[in-house]
Structure formats: structure tokens, C-alpha cells
Assembly symmetry: D2
């Protein structure tokens, strides 16, 4: 069990705001900086406009992403503008310093100061937990965009990693007829064991034509011009792959295919749940440090 | 098996447009009137601007609803404006005349002409089929409105009729913790047999406070001021009951409760699926006539 | 909430024994008679060898079935042999007298004494609750008898009443491909809304041949010689219909079809759960009496 | 697509018999040796009493396990008694030689002859596929042994590997309240994403007491005397771990705990499905060889 800690929560979006609230509800002493538009002060939660006292924190939690492209703290819910290095200079190696999707420049700046910023987004349990809001976001988009119900829809999911494994059984439970396309026999065996159809990824031709919805979860160009040609015009293509995405977008536009490229769904569709998942992961990281 | 028929499909929204297309795809000779903005002519589907030849139809299908308040054909996807009586006068008792939510004035006008307009919306199988897009629409709204995932949410469903029975297992499969409140022991036993929680409807106090989402499916005032007071402010209330609804709306506004009143979801969220369900029901009605 | 009652639990099998225990655990004063081989005395539970004091009971619960063919209390877990009339004569109209599957002779004997024996098995909520152990028992038998997994098996369920609705989604969740055959369009719509296949009961020919498992839940002869001929020899036929059953048994034997006729599954496969369901129903009946 | 092959299927139990039948149904030329009690000759399937012609096979498939402890072919469905080395001497390196759970002595004997026996049981896709009949077998045993329904039972599953991931959602779908105990946060996150409870394996004390069923899937002593003491006497313990198992068996006996140790469930409960899974894996192995 974690002891009561002194924690600073810096910048970020509604996930980070929810994180600050949850940590305070758990009995920690929380200071929120760079979140003044989203967080309200309570007995255990102080909303701060300066960094006074951050050096006494047991744990400092940067947002996801930690910094923007110009090296400033990412804080869209605040009027603050502050350099990451300015904050890092106030910290010491004995503190737990955590951040999400920590870029190389930030990691380098921390290292120069003798600090280590641990990345909670690289933790497997958070990636697994984030697959749930990603799957729900995908379902929401499909419901919004399609004139038919998920029930009875023929769905092809490309890839069977974390997102595919969260999404496929949910669509199936809603009544869709779901087939998974994967490269490895093992992944196909998993899909079959869950009652899903399973096909080889390199042999999709015939399957594409019958689909009402194709969801890509593979971060590679899997839907090129040839595949797009085989997809019906009234089929929705939902690309969940991070940049550069899994669809030949110019070809899709040329062919008149309907593609929705949905990125970073957890923070958009369920920030409170995503913040709770970060909280759990932060606790695991602190427990492993013996806090 | 149904023989090839001569069918007229009149007015209505995208459901009716889809119905016309599906009937034509099944090989029937279809004439669409009052749908010119949504239907394209094909070999088996004629888009008509007048009623010439409607007297030769085996089956005439009015939309859902059949007529608007002033006795005109309901045809929002058309520039036509035509009195129902004008159409009815062209029909004969030997034709199958079907419509959805047929009002008393229309039914009376038909009767005067010796015609019977059968209401497909009163068919139990259509009501059951419509529960699926209603449930999906409710899930879509919950996903859009809530900052948390359905996964892990505590949901209370009021009523366990067709919509409740379609919605509850879907939310459960998405990871929600679902409790059903019903009046009858039998309905509670059904809910329990499906792994859902079950409570007496008249004893809800304690349950309301813990909810993230309350969905009402009962067409009666079940969420009055007392119940609304017990619901947390961050809980979403989703009222699926037809007018006058199941919520004391003035009280909800006074107390600052978030209520979404969602009506006629099938036609809004999945018109193509809703049209397919009407098609199936029309076939059943024609089969029972021996067509 | 039910007050603490003085309850007598008479005869029966392990369900009745569990009922006695559960009532005692809930704080009632329980006297068990005709159950001495299965029930152990505790502070709240007396094991009785005579009926002394039964006249002071608030509630007397006969077993399921209440009596055997010769008018004796059904008590297979006891060495007692006692006439129903002997017990009934000790009771008075002010007591709640409950029994399961009460035969005409017993009901008549009670009526002559001015007593009313209410039948808990005729309560809809108990019938619904019993569908769960029936469905589990059917799954257990299918697992025991078939050389293939439920996963991937093609299953046809005849009828979509309480047992069909409990069984079909369970087999589906285990990975079977389940089709329901029913007479009414409404039942077919329910099956389809749950993602099951649905067929007309009177048009089964083609479906029978492909099946690995056929489960009948309809109390009528639905699998006659013609249908049995169409079923493959390695298909398991599971008849859950009460006597006279739904299979032409002589024809099945002649044709070498594998049929298992499984009756009264709740008491056999899950007596403790079945006893708990009776307890819930008894409480409902007592609450309705105002106890 | 695999070409038509000449295949020998040797020894084994009903899985191997089914494998021979399935290969023949797929159009291969199949010779079954050491299976005469279970296999019937067809046009494409010869039942052989000697090994004449095995040298011309494209593929030779030994059973699972391949050999018994004394180095003889494992063939319980045959009166044959033949040394593995006797068979191996008739084979050549150009043939695909496959076997299940190949022991060191057999592998060594093959190597001396310049042959490589590939082990299909070491293929991940077969391990995943076998998790399904293992899960079903576990459910069957639980249904047979417990006086309550799976529905409503409180189940603890130790470990969340292949078997845990196949078993947990099946029990959940049957209505059990399932908690998974695992060592790694990642596995716990997976369990939570599937709507299951998740607990740390090293912190089980409180959970054990409430369980109706504990299923162990971890091949290590996880249920020692301390844990067994905390499990209620009427709880069923089902140990699916291969030898030496996951339970302190002497302690369990001393404490009067009900333990069922179930090994090799696929071959016992669903040999035909297990044979089909071996067939799929054999095809993958042959395809990878370019056959």
C-alpha cells in the first residue's frame, strides 16, 4: 500500500486534471500547476500559479505529452507558458519524476541535470488499459458514421494487438460479424478461440468486398490502392494507426472511399477514465520505487 | 416464398428510402413516390412524381408516420405536398395497404373508402427488431456525453421490456456494471438470469446515488423530484420513453441534472437497418395475406 | 422486508434441504421434517422426527413434488413415511401453506380441510430462475456426450421460451454457432436481436443436416421420423421437453440416432442453486401475503 | 494452398484417429498405422498393419506423445507394439517428420539417423487452440462437481496465460463473478479490460475465503498450506497445472479440501476438436516447408 505522498501534477488536458483530483481523493497532498481552467481547489488539492515548494514533492507528474514542440510544458488548460528546463531545474534526483510520451529533448535536458524522467506511457499495463477507451471511441465513431447498426454489420479488423483484442469482442457482443486479419498463426488462433473469424493479412482480397466496416490497428501501410479498390464505396474505413497511418490517403480520396483517421481516442472520448488509468500506473511505478 | 409484386412506396424518411431500395433488390417492381431526394432510379425501381398506376399495385406502403398533423402524406425527402385522402381515393380494397403509426384520422378516412390500412409498427416483431437500433443509439449518446468509458460505469436501467432487454446485455458486454429496476418479480428474475443486478423499481433510493448513467425505458413518470435529488450531478440521465417521457423535466432543470431525452432513435441512428426491419415485417404481413 | 418467521420445511430432495438451511441462515426459526439424512441441526434449524408444533408455524413448505403417487409426503432423504392428509389435518387456514407441483389429489384434500396450498412452481419468476440450471445442465450433458467442443459446434435450438432464451446465449458465448427455430415471428426477432440465427420451425429440413447438436425445448412432438432422418448420425439430440417429450423415440432408436432425454435438470445438476431460487420465490409469496 | 500429399498417421489416441480422417477428407492420401481400433478405411484412407511404403510419404505424423517411456510408439488404440527406432530407420531426411511432445530419447534417435522430428505441440497456435477444449473441460468438471450453478458462483482463476484467458470470459459469460489473480500488472490490466476482477497473486488471503471455485493454471506451487487453510471446505479447487501441479496435495488432504487435478483435458473431453487443431497446425508446418 502506498503511503500518503506530496505530489505535483503539471499541465496537460482533462486526463491530467482528473488525475490530480483522483490522487487527492485517495488522500495524497496534491498541487496542480498549469491546470487552473479545469481543476478546483479542495482540502487536499491546491491549485498553484507558481512552482514554489515543488522541490519538496515526493513525486512530480508531467503530462501526456510532457512538452510541446518548442520545449514548453504542454498545458492547454492554462494560461501559463513555462519552459520544461525551468521546471526541471527545481527538481532533484531523489524525487520520482514521471511523464507521458517523453520526447528526446526533454529526456536529454533531464539527464543533463542528473534527473531521470520515467515514461508512464511506455508501461504495458497503461497501453492495455488505454485499449479500452480506444475501442469504445472506435465504436462511437462507427455508430455515428454508419447508417446501419453495428448489429449485423460485417466488420474486418486489421491487426490483433491490444486494440484489436479490446475492440473485436466488443463489436461481436454488439452483434457484428467480426473477422480478424493477422500475420501470425498465433494471433489467428487467438481470434478463433474467441469465436471470431480469422484470415491471413496477406490474403484479404475476397474479404474486403463484403465489409461494412474495416478497422485498421496496424501502424503500417496495409490499405494501399489495391486494397482500397476492393472495398465497397459505402464501407466505412476507420484507421486507428498512429502516424503515418495505415491507409494510402491520396488513393482513398481519388477512389472516393470514406476514411476516418482517429488518433488519441482515450484522451478525447473518455478523459476521466484515461486519467484513472494513469493514476493506477503511477501507483505501480511508485510502488516499484518502494514509496 | 413471396412472389414478385408490384409495390408502391410512398413518402417518409431514409428508412422508407432504404425500404424501396431493398424491395427492388429482392426483385419486386417498385415505384417510389415522395422520395425523390433520397432514391435513385434503377431497373427495378422507378422514381415517380405522380400517382399514375398506383391502382395496379399489389401493395402500397405508407411511411412512418403515415401522415402529418394536417392530413398530408409525411414526405420530408420530397417537394411533394399531397393529401392522404387524395392518395387513398386511388386505392381499392383488394390491395395490401400498409402504414406506420397510422393516426385515427387517416384510419377513419381509409375506412370511409372501404379500405383497411394495416399498421406495421403495431407488429411485435418490428417492435423487437427496433429495440436493437434504439439500444445502439442509447449507447452512442452515452459514449458521446460521458467523460468516462462505458467499461466500468455503473448503470441503472429502469424497465425491462424490449428496449431494456436489448440494451442491458450490450452495456454489460461493454464492461458496465448494470442493474435493472423493474416492477415485477418475473422481470427481475430475467435480469438475474442474464447476470445483471435486479432491484425493485419502488425501492430505488440507495441505488440512484452510485450511478454514472441512468436509462429510463418506462413510459411513466418514474424519475420525479425525489429520485432526481438522489442522483449525482455528474450522472447522465437518458430518457428513452416516448412522450410525455419518464422524467420530471422542470425539476431536473431546477436541480441541474443532465438529462438527454432521445426519441425515435432507430430512424435517426440507423435508418438503413430500420428500413430493413420494416421490409421483413412487410413480408410477414404479405405472407399472412397469402401473397 | 420479511419479519422473522416460524417455518416448517417438509420432505423433498437436496433442494428442500438447502432451502431449510438458507431460511435458517436468514434468521428464521426453521424446523426440518423428513430431511434427516441431508440436514444438520444448527441454532436456528431444528431437525424434527415428528410434527409437534407445526400448528404454530407461520409458514409450512411442502417439497417439489409435494406428494408421491400414493398420497405420501415425497421425502426421499428420510426414513419417514407419512400421509399428506395426516400433515394437512394439523394445519389451519391462517398459515401460509406452500408446495411445489401440487397434484389434484393433494389440492383437493387441502380444500376439504379449508386450506389452500399455493404452488410455488407455478410462479413465473421461479420458472425463469430454473431456466438457468436447466441451461447449465444441458451444456454439461452436451460437453460430456460430444467428442467436439461447444466452441465451433453448430447448434439448433427448437423453441425460444424460457429455457431457449437461457441456453442460446450461453452456447453462443461458448463459441457455438446457434440457430433458433421458432413458430412466431416475434420469437425469431428476439433471437436475431441477440445475434442468433433464426428459422421457421416448420421449415427445418435443410438446417437439420448440418447440426452437431439439436436441443429441443418444445413440449410437443417436433422431431418425428422425417426430421430424425434428416439429422446426421453423429449429431447429439438433447430433449429437454417434459413428458411425453419432443422426439419420436421408437423412430430414433430404429434410425440409430443419439438422443438424451434430460428431465428435471435443476434438482439434479444444481440443487443448492435451485433451493435458493425456491427460497426467493417463497419470500415473494409471503411478502404478497403481508408477512 | 497445400498440394495433395501422401501422409502417414501413426499411433495415438482419438485425436490422432480424427486427424487421419480429416486429412483424408481434405483430399490427401492417408495411411493410418497403429489406429486400427478407431479408424475405418475409406477411399482416401488406408488402415495399415505394416509400414510398407512409409518411405514414399511426404509427411509422417507421430502421435502425442510420440513415444511411451520404453521407447515404443504410443498406440493405445492398436494391438501393435513397435519400437520408435524401427520406424525412424525407414524414414529419410527429405520427409516432413512431425510429432507431439517429442521426448529427448526419440529426438536423439532421430538425430542419429540424420532426421529432424518437429514438435507440433511446441507451436504457439496449437497451444492457443488447445486452451479452448481445456477451458471447456474445466467448465464441465465444475458443473459436474458443484451443487450450485456456474451462474452466480464466485470464481478465482490463478494465472492469466492461455488457459486463463480462454476460461475466464467463458465462466463470466455463464454468469460467474470471476476474479483473476496474476503476478504482473499487465496481466491484471488485461483481466480488467475484459470486465474481470484482478488481484495480485501474492496478496490472495481475503479473496480465497469467498470463493466457490478456485482454478489454478500456474505450473508452480501457488496453493500451499496457508492458502488452503483460507479456502472454504465447500469450495472446489480445480488444478489444471501440469505435473507437479499447483496444489500442496498432502496438505489439501489433511485439511479436507476438495481438489480435482485435471490433466490433458483436450484429448479427453474433445478429441475430435483437438485432432482438428493438430491438423491446422500440421498444415502451417507443411506450408512453411513449402509443401
Amino acid at each position: 500500500m502506498l503511503h500518503e505522498c506530496n505530489m505535483w501534477v503539471l499541465g496537460g488536458d482533462l486526463r491530467q486534471a482528473r488525475l490530480a483530483e483522483l490522487l487527492a481523493e485517495d488522500g495524497h497532498r496534491v498541487y496542480a500547476y498549469g491546470l487552473e481552467r479545469a481543476v478546483h481547489a479542495t482540502e487536499d488539492l491546491s491549485v498553484r500559479e507558481d512552482l514554489e515548494g515543488i522541490g519538496r514533492a515526493d513525486c512530480v507528474i508531467f503530462p501526456l505529452p510532457a512538452a510541446d514542440a518548442s520545449g514548453m510544458l504542454h498545458c492547454p488548460l492554462s494560461s501559463q507558458r513555462v519552459q520544461m528546463t525551468h521546471i526541471l531545474q527545481k527538481l532533484s534526483p531523489s524525487q520520482a519524476i514521471l511523464g507521458g510520451r517523453v520526447d528526446n529533448a526533454t529526456a536529454g535536458a533531464a539527464a543533463e541535470l542528473g534527473l531521470t524522467m520515467e515514461d508512464y506511457l511506455s508501461r504495458e499495463e497503461l497501453a492495455v488499459a488505454n485499449a479500452v477507451p480506444t475501442a469504445e471511441g472506435a465504436i462511437q465513431i462507427a455508430m455515428e458514421e454508419m447508417p446501419i447498426t453495428i448489429h449485423g454489420a460485417r466488420v474486418l479488423i486489421l491487426g490483433f494487438g491490444r486494440v484489436g483484442r479490446a475492440l473485436a469482442p466488443r463489436l461481436q457482443a454488439l452483434g457484428a460479424r467480426v473477422t480478424v486479419a493477422a500475420r501470425r498463426y498465433e494471433a489467428m488462433a487467438w481470434a478463433e478461440s474467441m469465436g471470431l473469424g480469422a484470415e491471413r493479412l496477406d490474403d484479404l482480397g475476397a474479404w474486403l468486398w463484403g465489409c461494412d466496416l474495416v478497422v485498421n490497428t496496424i501502424p503500417a501501410l496495409v490499405l494501399g490502392e489495391r486494397e482500397l479498390t476492393l472495398i465497397r464505396q459505402d464501407c466505412l474505413i476507420l484507421d486507428l494507426a498512429s502516424k503515418p497511418g495505415g491507409v494510402d490517403y491520396p488513393a482513398a480520396e481519388r477512389l472516393g472511399r470514406r476514411v476516418v483517421w482517429a488518433l488519441s481516442l482515450p484522451g478525447k472520448t473518455a478523459p476521466a477514465s484515461a486519467g484513472a488509468a494513469i493514476r493506477d500506473t503511477v501507483y505501480h511505478m511508485l510502488e516499484e520505487r518502494g514509496l
